[in-house]
Structures are given as structure tokens and as C-alpha cells.
């Protein structure tokens, strides 16, 4: 009895062991490769695309909403790959000599999918709508500059500013500035406008199954494609099935198996294998602020500039990012501005590298000379603990989370005790860990089309309360003056000069240090061509895409 039981047990154990060994030795094979022979272009068809995060509404202030709304809404301008604004709904634009009045001339004959005309009146209404709470990100950009919008005639919109804003055409190319039907905004319920905004874009929404996908149909009456489009006319494909697949492993597996035609946000470890298997890949390094660390300058150990600098000298950020990012995620040394942004300061990026001697000297000078049982530094009985909450799965993806663990590990060598706290999206939105007593380091990115992102992130507080978007809680009149000068500078060189000055200031005082640039990546299967990434934020554009046989 016992002998046969042991025989049975051994057999099963052997089977399990074999399975484990097979798992270790095996490699995933997937369907891939380019189709043999010449391609044949297909008209129509359904493209299944696996995106990653699902927003609460199609249109709104979050980048995921910008990506989706750009399929159904057109904007005034679109950026080319040099970051220069090109015509879209606006055929031409000019600014008055005092730089306070912008005049946009619209393309004629454009209608919304509900039949109403897309005229200057509709555009003016939209601009007002955004700044009155219709789109929080749009109003962040325009706040402090926008005064009013008027329709001069059916095709001409005038935007009145209170201060000069030379990069207005670039700014309104982002998905947050999509134009919706005035009638729809005025007469439909909030829920309807959330799930199915009416625009003039290449697609219309057919059905949104929450948690699964949103199906878009071609708009056959599309006349307003942007100047940067690679083909003229309505979209070639008939249907776009935009699936929500938050798990990166499943997305990649589905692409390999041929179940989806393209996927978003390719994990770093799959970048080379997918390319080797013949999948096309596109990569867009987002402009604006990269994924960076901002230090709390108002409360806690980082009020001392030496401690901030010591933290920066403790890290070999390049090694961490290059290893964990498999060479695919770009290391970014500059905190406030990413490398693909015009006006980037290389000097700021090169400010800090690994130098433990310097870091230790600075901490000793700052008084953190004691050590506790685990080797962390202490001062007056208090451990050098710094709290780093991060938006797990949302702001910071899996690769990013591993990179933060690398930061934690390296900072430990100098004596910092970094406490990593993953935060859910809803907690983040509820404002958790957003006030000075709750965190010491903030990690995040903020997309923008110019280095004018400095204006958003380094705004000083009002009435003693820090600005909610100033993650270092840092008020400096000197820095602010430089940034404002840059915003209103009339020549590009002058503007960039001021912006660089601001970045160097931030680096010198170790207010924010960069980790990696935010990537918008796509991997595309062999049956789909013509997908491009729009150049404001790297979102996928399918209006030029087509299937091949």
C-alpha cells in the first residue's frame, strides 16, 4: 500500500519537475514574420488594436482620453515630426502685432456627424467650454493667458489673450483641444457626451463595452484630414476595434498569436524579441516632462539642498534604466524637460551621475552622521527615511516600478531609507499623497508640446498654499521670472534660452532629477500598415492605416 502510494507520488513529482524544467528551457514561438510575396492592399476590413488603459470618458483631461478622442474629434492644428504646427481644421493662422489676438481661418464645408456645421461659432463655443471646466488639462494650458474667443464670420475665429503666448498653435494640437458639436454639447446628456462625443473626425463611436472594447466605425463623410496625413480622403479601414487589455503579457501574447493587429505600450523585455520576429515597431519619446523625481522642498529631509544633491549623487540612474529598460527605455537625466522637447538643456541632464564619495560627504555635512542597526543614516535619533508613493500600473508601468526599486536599492548604499508605496489610480485622483506631509519624493510625467511645461510644474503657490501641480512645492520668484520670460519671448531662440536657464537652475538646486522619458510605443503585426503616431503626444492614428493580404 505505502509502496504504491510512494510510486504514485514519485510519478507525479517527476511529471511536475519535468514541466518546470521544460518551462525553463522552452521559448515562446509565435506567429510572426512578414508575409511572403508582394502585398495587396485591402479596402475596408476591421482592425483589432489592443490598448492598455481604459478612461472613464472618451473626451477629458487625461492622456488616455486624448488618445481616444483624437479618433473621433478633429483639432485646429496637428504637429509634424519636427514639432511645428501644420494645418488641420485651421487652414491658416496669424497673430496681431501686440501678440494678443490670434486669428484662425477654418477649412470650409466641414460638418459634424450630427449634421451641424463646424464653423467659427462652434470653435469659439468649444474654447469657452474647455476653460469653463469642460477639459481640465486644456484649461491648465490656457489659464492665465486666455481671455475670450469670438466668431468674426463663419470661417474666422479670433482668440483674445491677456498675455502673449507664442506657442498657441502648437498647444492646441493636443487631443485635449478636440472640437465637438455645439449642439451636442448643449442638448445632450453628460453621459452621452462622455461615451459618444460628436465630432468631425475620421471615425464615429459605434459601441463601448466597458472593460472590454470600444468599437469605432469609419466616418464616410470625413473631409477634414490634417495636412500631415499620409493619404487623402476618409479612412481606408471600415472598423476599428479598440480593445482594453491592461496586462502587458497578454497584449504581447495576443499580438504574437495574430489575434490583434497592433498593440500599445510594449514591455521593454519584448522589444527586441518582437522585432526579431518581424513585427514593426514605432516609438515616440513624449515631449514635456519626463518621468522624474521631484523632491519635497517644504517639509522633511529634502528641505536641505545638500540632502537633495546627495540623493542625486547616490544613484547610477543610467545603469538602472538601461538594464531594466533592456536598452529600449531611454535614460533621461534632466528632470523638468525631456530630450525630445525643443528647448532641452543637455547641461541640466548631465548634472549628476554616480559619485558615492560626494554623496556621503554632503550627507555628513548636513548632519546625518549617525547610523542605525540596518545601516541607514540618522540625525538626532531620526532615521533618514524618505517616502516615495507612485501610481502603480497607471503613471508608472511595470518597467518603471522595477526602476524605482533600483533607485531604492542604490540609495540604500549611501544611507537613505526609501519607502516605496504603490498607489491605486483612484487614490491618486482622490488626492492621496499629494500634500507636503505625506511624501518626500514625487514621481510622474506631464506631456506637453513645448518646454513651456515649466510654466505648469514650477508655478509658485498662492496665499501660502502650494500650487497643486508644483510637485516640489518650490516657490522661487527668480525661477518664475525666468519661466514667464520664456513663455512670452517672441523669438524661438530667446524662448529656448530662458527655458534652458530655468532647467539649469532646477538641476543646480537638485529640485527634480530625471529617470526616463515616457515612451509611447506600438508594435504592429504584418497585416497592418500605415499606422502612425501623432506628434503631440504619441497617440496612435488609424485614419491612414490599411490592411494588407
Amino acid at each position: 500500500m505505502s509502496r504504491s502510494r510512494s510510486a504514485g507520488s514519485t510519478a507525479v513529482s517527476a511529471a511536475v519537475l519535468a514541466m518546470v524544467l521544460a518551462a525553463c528551457g522552452g521559448r515562446a514561438e509565435g506567429a510572426a514574420g512578414t508575409p511572403a510575396g508582394p502585398e495587396q492592399r485591402v479596402t475596408g476590413g476591421t482592425v483589432v488594436y489592443a490598448h492598455q488603459q481604459e478612461p472613464p470618458c472618451v473626451f477629458g483631461g487625461w492622456i488616455e482620453q486624448a488618445y481616444l478622442s483624437q479618433q473621433v474629434l478633429d483639432a485646429l492644428t496637428s504637429l509634424d515630426d519636427k514639432g511645428v504646427a501644420q494645418p488641420w481644421l485651421a487652414q491658416k493662422w496669424s497673430v496681431s502685432p501686440d501678440n494678443l489676438t490670434w486669428t484662425f481661418t477654418l477649412k470650409p464645408g466641414v460638418t459634424f456627424t450630427d449634421g451641424t456645421p463646424l464653423d467659427a461659432d462652434a470653435v469659439a463655443y468649444n474654447i469657452d467650454y474647455w476653460t469653463k471646466g469642460g477639459n481640465s488639462t486644456a484649461s491648465v494650458w490656457l489659464g492665465g493667458y486666455y481671455s475670450k474667443a469670438t466668431a468674426v464670420d463663419a470661417r474666422t475665429v479670433q482668440i483674445q489673450l491677456s498675455r502673449p503666448y507664442p506657442r498657441l498653435p502648437e498647444t492646441v494640437s493636443q487631443g485635449y483641444f478636440g472640437i465637438q458639436s455645439k449642439k451636442a454639447l448643449q442638448t445632450r446628456s453628460k453621459e452621452d457626451n462622455c461615451t459618444d462625443p460628436i465630432g468631425s473626425g475620421a471615425f464615429v463611436i459605434q459601441k463601448w463595452t466597458r472593460g472590454q472594447d470600444i468599437v469605432l466605425l469609419r466616418n464616410d463623410h470625413w473631409t477634414s484630414w490634417p495636412a500631415v496625413a499620409t493619404h487623402q480622403g476618409p479612412a481606408t479601414i471600415e472598423k476599428l476595434d479598440w480593445k482594453f487589455v491592461p496586462d502587458p503579457t497578454t497584449r504581447v501574447a495576443a499580438l504574437r498569436a495574430g489575434e490583434v493587429a497592433a498593440i500599445y505600450d510594449v514591455p521593454a523585455v519584448e522589444w527586441k524579441p518582437l522585432a526579431a520576429q518581424g513585427f514593426a515597431e514605432q516609438n515616440y519619446v513624449t515631449r514635456g516632462r519626463p518621468v522624474q523625481l521631484s523632491f519635497n522642498t517644504r517639509l522633511g529631509p529634502f528641505t536641505d539642498e545638500r540632502v537633495r544633491q546627495a540623493f542625486a549623487w547616490s544613484l547610477d540612474r543610467k545603469a538602472i534604466v538601461t538594464t531594466i529598460g533592456q536598452g529600449h527605455v531611454p535614460y533621461e537625466g534632466n528632470g523638468p524637460v525631456s530630450r525630445s522637447t525643443v528647448g532641452y538643456s543637455q547641461k541640466a541632464a548631465d548634472s549628476y551621475h554616480l559619485d558615492p564619495a560626494k554623496a556621503n560627504a554632503l550627507l555628513d555635512a548636513a548632519g546625518w552622521t549617525g547610523r542605525d542597526g540596518d545601516g541607514y543614516r540618522t540625525k538626532g535619533g531620526q532615521t533618514l527615511q524618505v517616502v516615495l508613493p507612485y501610481g502603480a500600473g497607471s503613471i508608472v508601468n511595470t518597467d518603471g516600478a522595477s526602476i524605482l526599486q533600483g533607485v531604492q536599492q542604490q540609495a540604500k548604499a549611501t544611507g537613505f531609507k526609501v519607502k516605496l508605496i504603490p498607489v491605486s489610480l483612484s487614490e491618486l485622483f482622490a488626492g492621496k499623497y499629494s500634500t507636503p506631509p505625506e511624501r518626500d519624493i514625487q514621481v510622474g510625467y506631464w506631456t506637453a508640446v513645448t518646454a513651456g511645461i515649466l510654466y505648469v510644474n514650477w508655478r509658485p503657490g498662492t496665499d501660502g498654499k502650494p500650487s497643486p501641480w508644483n510637485d516640489a512645492y518650490y516657490d522661487s520668484p527668480e525661477l518664475w521670472k525666468t519661466i514667464l520670460a520664456g513663455n512670452s519671448a517672441l523669438s524661438l531662440d530667446e524662448q529656448n534660452g530662458y527655458y534652458r536657464q530655468a532647467q539649469d537652475f532646477i538641476a543646480e538646486h537638485a529640485l527634480s532629477i530625471g529617470l526616463y522619458d515616457r515612451l509611447s510605443s506600438l508594435a504592429i503585426g504584418p497585416k497592418l500598415k500605415g499606422v502612425r503616431q501623432e506628434q503631440a503626444q504619441g497617440g496612435p492614428i488609424f485614419s491612414d492605416a490599411y490592411l494588407v493580404k
Binding site: R5, A23, P56, E259
Partner: protein, 337 residues
Amino acid sequence: MTAPTAATAPAAVATAPAAVAARGPVLLRRVARRAVHAVAVLLGSATAAFLAQQALPGDRATAILNTRSGQSGLRTAQELAPVVAQYHLDWPVWRQYADYVLGLLHGDLGRSYQEFRPVRDIIADQFGATLTLTLTAIALAWVISVGWVTATAGRSGPFRAVGEFVDTVTAGIPHYWLGIVLLLVFAQWLGWFPVIGGTGPDGLALPALTLAVPLAGFLGQATRSAFERTLDQPFVLSARLRGLGDGRVRMRHVLRHAVLPGVTLSGWALGATIAGAVVVETVFTRPGIGKVLVTAVGSQDLPVVTGVVVVITAVYVVANLLVDLAYVRIDPRLGDR
């Protein structure tokens, strides 16, 4: 989910002798009593759900507004007013509770914090897929366990030992691990099944198998001990003496008695399998309320969480009620023999 608590087995067996005593009006009374009990349990679970919603730390109106707009920050009272009005957050607690319970009776499960849709719609959209998966898994588990036990129970030597061992091992396998292994082996490497399932039968196979195998382990254990006990009964011996083959004896005579504990467990199994579906739907990216639930827990969208929990509880209570009634019918001891 590994071993179940076999609490339903003692309960059902305890009540069975009572039913033997007298049927008819006693049965009716028993049914009525259990129905009342079921309603009380449902009310209790709804109350627990409501209390959970009230217990959410922080200001609910701010959380709702921030999640909707995609921007965090402090809000003015003016911005919060419509949200407060919509969710009745300014009513006294007892009034919110009464409103909640009355709403439940009408099938209104509240509104999601994140979406503009009522929770009922969110659940209705996804529940069918989960129910399909659960029922398929239970059916599959039954087939596997009955087949396996019939073949291996009561035999001597290695068969029985292997049978018992497999039951124990499979009952203890975590869903998340088994799911990943099956996904890797059958979908990724062999390509027999799709990786992202969808709702067709192709996409049902691996998730259902993941849920069915541990459940079969459990049902197998219960069925096996009953099977072996029954094999020793005198009437089985007499059937053999009459010349019936071993297979026929097992299938026709023994099985009927052996499945009783399994039937009782099936009521519990439905609830536990729906819970297991939460994990399995995550592993296989299959639509269903499991995914809805995990997302809602992560984003602290409490109306959705409590709505899903209440619905599953209701299904579970109803299923147990039906199983209790079915048990009375199936149990041959209570029949006309």
C-alpha cells in the same frame, strides 16, 4: 481557493433525517423557513455592503469627482454640489440605508463612482460571461471527478493511491498558478487555444479547465469516500452476486449514493467558483464580472464592488436553496425504496 470548508455537508446531512420523518406539510414549512432565512441572509449581506460603502476613508465626493475628471486636487463646494446631490451624500445615514435597501428591491444597485452608468447595467453586461464560465466549469468538474472516482475508487494497489493523491494535489492547486501554466502550455506554446479568449467556446476551454480541475479534486474527495463507503454496503454485494459486472455495479448502483455529498457541495461550489472566476478572468483576460470586480477594488469604486458582491451572494443563496431542495429529491434514502 484550495480546500473548501465542508460546512454545507454537515448541515445538509443533518437536515435530511428530519425530512425523512414526515413529508408534505413539513416539507412546505421547511421550504418556507429556508426561504425566509435566505431573505434574511440577503438583507444582512446588503447591510454589510452598505456599511462598507460608508466606511470608505476620505471625502467621497472629492474622490468621485477626481476620478471622473482624471485630475486630482482639492475641490470647491460648488464643484462638489452636483455629485453630493446625485449620490445623496448629504442625507443622514439611516436615510441613505433605507434608500439603498429600497433600491435593491427594485434592482437598483446604485451608481458607479467612476462611470456615469448604473451598477446594474455594468454587472448585467458582464454577468452572462461569468455565469457561462462558472456553469461550464462545474459541469466539467463533475464529469472529471465522477469519471475519475468511478474508475479508481475502492480498487486495490496503485490505482487507488494515485486516485487519492491526484484528488489531494489538484484540490490544492491555486487557480492563478494553474491558469498561468495552462495558458503557457496550451495557448502560447502549443497554440491549441487562443490567448485572449473572448466569449466563444474556444476561449472558454482553458479558463473552465482552470476552475474545473481544483473543483474536481474536491468533489472527488467527497465522492470518493462516499463511493467507498457505498461499495461495502450489502446491496452492492448482492448485486455482484447476481452477476452484474464491476463497471455496471459502479455506474448504476453505487454512483447514485456516492454523488450525494457532491451535490450538496455544488451549492457551495457555485459561489466559490464564481469567486475563483475573479482570478481566472484576470489571468485569461476574459470578460466577466471578475474583471469588473478587481478593477473596482483597485479604484475603490465601492458601489460596483458592493453591487457585485451582493449579486454573487444572491446567486449563491438561491443556488444553495435549490440544492437543498434537490437533495431531498435525489437522496434515495428518502425516496420510495
